[in-house]
Symmetry: C2
Subunit: 132 residues, 2 copies
């Protein structure tokens, strides 16, 4: 769990982060809104806190957690070089979401099919690449 990406890989953690976008929240509030067990919430918050995603303010017995920008900025930064891929046609995302919507996986099969159908460039009949 060393990287920012591993941390947001966990769905419940992403849910917590999304909850915190609107306003700071107590553990209990998160527990109820996300319908998850209290220890689970605390553990995820610990991970998020240690990775710098959130910070807490003590208020009596409870702790109010709020977002901290840096780690998500890091994700944003990593994403930057790839943005050139879709600057222009925005519709690819919609198609992708359509495909992946129904319990995910079926997209894989379809993608596979398309991939296998893709033909090679006819010109590239040569082979035998040298080892260097």
């Amino acid at each position: 769990m060393t990287s920012v990406f591993e941390i947001i890989a966990e769905p419940n953690r992403r849910a917590i982060l999304s909850l915190l976008v609107s306003s700071e929240q107590s553990v209990r509030a998160i527990e109820r809104q996300l319908r998850m067990a209290q220890p689970a919430v605390s553990k995820h918050l610990r991970v998020l806190r240690e990775a710098g995603f959130v910070e807490a303010t003590v208020d009596a017995q409870r702790r109010l957690y709020r977002l901290t920008p840096a780690p998500l900025q890091e994700v944003d930064a990593w994403l930057a070089p790839f943005r050139q891929l879709w600057s222009g046609h925005v519709d690819a995302l919609e198609r992708h979401l359509d495909r992946t919507a129904r319990t995910a996986q079926p997209a894989a099969t379809k993608t596979n099919a398309r991939t296998n159908k893709t033909k090679a460039t006819p010109a590239a009949k040569k082979h035998a690449r040298r080892r260097s």
Copy 2:
């Protein structure tokens, strides 16, 4: 491994994606540049392909893999609501990277320390929230 985020959680897969930004690559080319075993590369590519991150073109015995925009767009879209956090002060990322640079974790400790030091709002001495 149902979500896009779990897929980019793997460092080698992110490395492969980054490699493909510049141009399409064969499995062998990836294998050498990233110094990883061939089966590992193939397996990661399979995961990436089934998730729609890449697609392949057959060229004789080899397959040329190239990026596909949709899944990364999905990440970008998820990130959108959080961007309001750092639109304005861009320096938070730099500080974060400085802290997390040396083998990660130490940032956690520091963040912890700051967090614990954070005082509660003095006005909020009352407690006993009702259950609704």
